[in-house]
């Protein structure tokens, strides 16, 4: 059951407002605690751990927004790689210095006015988010004329088209060479700041009347339409909103890895996000967060299978590429044996946690 369901399950208690206030304070306290941990990590942990933590923040943004359209609205789509690419390219083109751009665009010069623009990260990110949202908006018109597996294949096609364009539109994207010399600006605070903003917006949206409408479309589109909900515009809302955040995450990704090229944004990226939200539980924001963190660190942990090792006195040669085989098996295995993923459609709630700790008065 959704979090909204859990809240209602308790009924409109006389102290509903009090409960809400308590939850707000608890959430703020958790944010402060999280911030403190990030600060600690930044100062005490090694560069590698910090990098992984930053990356997991970006995956949280991507998974939570991807889940909004796939899990909550029930529109199974496969385009996040296109949105991430769009955001990454736009941000990078806006922040790289004109001199650097002139040096990288060897085959064909970068078109004006991109060639002279030089913006700080924050405005560049916002513009990238808006551009990506605009792209989603335009895409939505043909895309949401179809449903089900056709929707999946059309959105996948869009991802391919974006990659082909990135490869060929030399004077904007520098073609297969990609963009180099992107400043390393993304740190823990940027990544988790965006993650926090995404969570705030998505959780609030899902718990609002709009979120109920999205779930209604997922449950039965015909009935939702008959109840006065324009399914097309609501899908568009979820789609553009998720594109907005995915675009910004793309921008931060570019400023984390400092070099981007079309080969980075293949369907492979979408596949990873799909694993994250399926394993976490389609339609659970908590699941998406959990899945993203598990994926980032689990992926590292799985490096074991790619490195030579000695087990019970046997020398086992490392098998490069084995991680992805394992990931694919996990996806298939989850679908076959645990279709709900870790959380199904359940969400974390303070009421649940307090009850667990034996402190709450309410039922879990």
């Amino acid at each position: 059951m959704s979090l909204a369901g859990r809240i209602f399950k308790a009924g409109p208690l006389p102290d509903a407002a009090g409960t809400r206030r308590r939850d707000t304070w608890l959430t703020l306290a958790a944010c402060a605690l999280g911030g403190g941990l990030l600060w600690l990590a930044e100062n005490q942990a090694g560069g590698y751990v910090v990098h992984m933590l930053t990356l997991s923040g970006l995956f949280v943004v991507l998974a939570v927004s991807y889940n909004l359209i796939n899990g909550f609205t029930g529109q199974f789509s496969l385009e996040p790689n296109a949105f991430v690419a769009c955001g990454a390219y736009v941000t990078a083109l806006l922040t790289i210095s004109p001199l650097e751009k002139e040096a990288s665009f060897i085959l064909e010069p970068l078109i004006w006015p991109l060639s002279v623009i030089h913006l700080p990260l924050l405005p560049a990110l916002l513009i990238a988010g808006l551009c990506t949202a605009l792209m989603a908006f335009v895409m939505g018109f043909p895309v949401f004329r179809v449903r089900g597996d056709y929707l999946a294949i059309v959105t996948l096609g869009f991802g391919e088209v974006v990659r082909v364009v990135a490869n060929n539109a030399q004077s904007v994207t520098n073609g297969p060479l990609g963009l180099k010399g992107i400043a390393h600006l993304t740190n823990l605070w940027w990544a988790w700041g965006l993650a926090g903003a995404t969570l705030f917006v998505v959780v609030r949206l899902v718990h609002s009347s709009y979120g109920r409408a999205l779930k209604a479309i997922r449950e039965d589109e015909t009935a939702a339409e008959a109840m006065g909900i324009n399914a097309f515009w609501h899908k568009m809302l979820a789609f553009t909103l998720s594109a907005f955040f995915e675009g910004m995450a793309g921008g931060l990704l570019a400023h984390l890895i400092t070099t981007i090229s079309p080969s980075l944004f293949t369907f492979f990226m979408t596949f990873n996000l799909l694993i994250i939200i399926v394993v976490g539980g389609l339609g659970s924001t908590t699941g998406a967060v959990l899945g993203a963190i598990l994926f980032t660190f689990g992926g590292e942990w799985l490096r074991v299978v790619e490195e030579p090792a000695t087990l019970f006195g046997l020398d086992i040669p490392g098998i490069p590429g084995m991680r992805m085989v394992v990931f694919s098996l996990i996806l298939v295995g989850v679908m076959l044996f645990a279709r709900q993923g870790i959380l199904g459609r359940n969400e974390f709630s303070w009421r649940w946690l307090l009850a667990r700790l034996g402190m709450g008065r309410g039922r879990a």
């Binding site: 004329r145 056709y150 999946a152 294949i153 799909l274 085989v325 996806l331």
Partner: protein, 292 residues
């Protein structure tokens, strides 16, 4: 003259798309499942043929049928292992599983064969140049459409002239009624996977001869494009898949021939076509059913 040459090239490419598209369309017709792994099944077929020819020195007319048979087995195994348990699950679950199987095959291929391309030697018969006046054509380009046509004619015979074919058509119309009439639908589904996968292997081997290099990701793009071809022709319709494949192959070659500036966008053409079809005629050229 040049145009005729391009036309033959388009026909060759189109026949390959057609052969792969049939597997998609047959499976979709019966299970309403986009078998995402179909392109990768084709890749496995290519490697099987390569093993037969390069490792065991089999002549092509032996290694091709052997590869087709092995690939048919693989197709059936995938269905039984990964898709069959999900027959009654929401359709999206099966699709996600198919995506997983696809990645599994690709990455297992990378682990086993490595990312470095392997050379695929063209048999002598396909490596000659036929010359008619000014027209110079690689024998492979002539033989591919011919062999494709033969295989497809055989397939149509099976579908329209045999009891098994009749059962397949019946299952694709209404699986539950057919089961009530005592037909073992599971056997029919398995047969569909076997046939579709064998055709993919045949298509793949000719693909590998045309672009004589093997790598574990070679099935991805032809697979996706063949799916578009199947939708173009009207998904679920075998003849439509052939037509869609030919149209897509010709369109790609003609784009490159007539507008060389846009040659780089060739791989995007299929998807632009797909969006166009779904906007204006979602049932495809020969289809009847609406995508729902």
């Amino acid at each position: 003259m040049d145009l005729l040459q391009q036309f033959i090239n388009g026909l060759t490419l189109g026949s390959l798309y057609a052969m792969i598209a049939i597997g998609y369309t047959m499976v979709y017709g019966i299970l309403r499942l986009i078998n995402f792994a179909h392109g990768d099944v084709m890749m496995v077929g290519c490697y099987a043929a390569w093993f037969g020819a390069a490792q065991f020195g089999l002549p092509w007319w032996v290694s091709l049928p052997v590869a087709m048979a092995l690939t048919a087995l693989l197709g059936v195994a995938i269905d039984q292992g990964a898709y069959r348990p999900l027959r009654r699950a929401p359709r999206i679950s099966a699709l996600i599983t198919a995506i997983g199987v696809s990645f599994f095959l690709e990455n297992l291929g990378l682990v086993i064969f490595g990312g470095r391309p392997k050379a695929f030697a063209r048999p002598e018969i396909f490596n000659q140049i036929y010359q008619w006046g000014e027209l110079r054509v690689l024998s492979l380009s002539v033989w591919t459409p011919v062999i494709t046509a033969l295989i497809l004619a055989g397939l149509l015979l099976v579908i329209y002239r045999t009891r098994v074919g009749m059962a397949m058509r019946a299952v694709s119309r209404d699986i539950s009624t057919v089961e009530l009439m005592g037909v073992d639908s599971n056997r029919i589904v398995a047969l569909t996977f076997a046939l579709g996968s064998a055709l993919a292997a045949a298509g793949g081997v000719f693909w590998a001869m045309k672009y004589p290099q093997l790598n574990p990701l070679l099935g991805v793009l032809p697979g996706l494009k063949a799916f578009v071809a199947a939708v173009l022709g009207g998904i679920g319709n075998v003849a439509g898949a052939m037509l869609g494949g030919l149209i897509l192959g010709l369109a790609e070659i003609m784009l490159v021939a007539l507008m060389p500036d846009l040659a780089g966008y060739r791989d995007a053409l299929a998807f632009v076509l797909l969006i166009g079809i779904l906007l204006f005629r979602p049932t495809g050229i020969m289809g009847e059913k609406l995508p729902e």
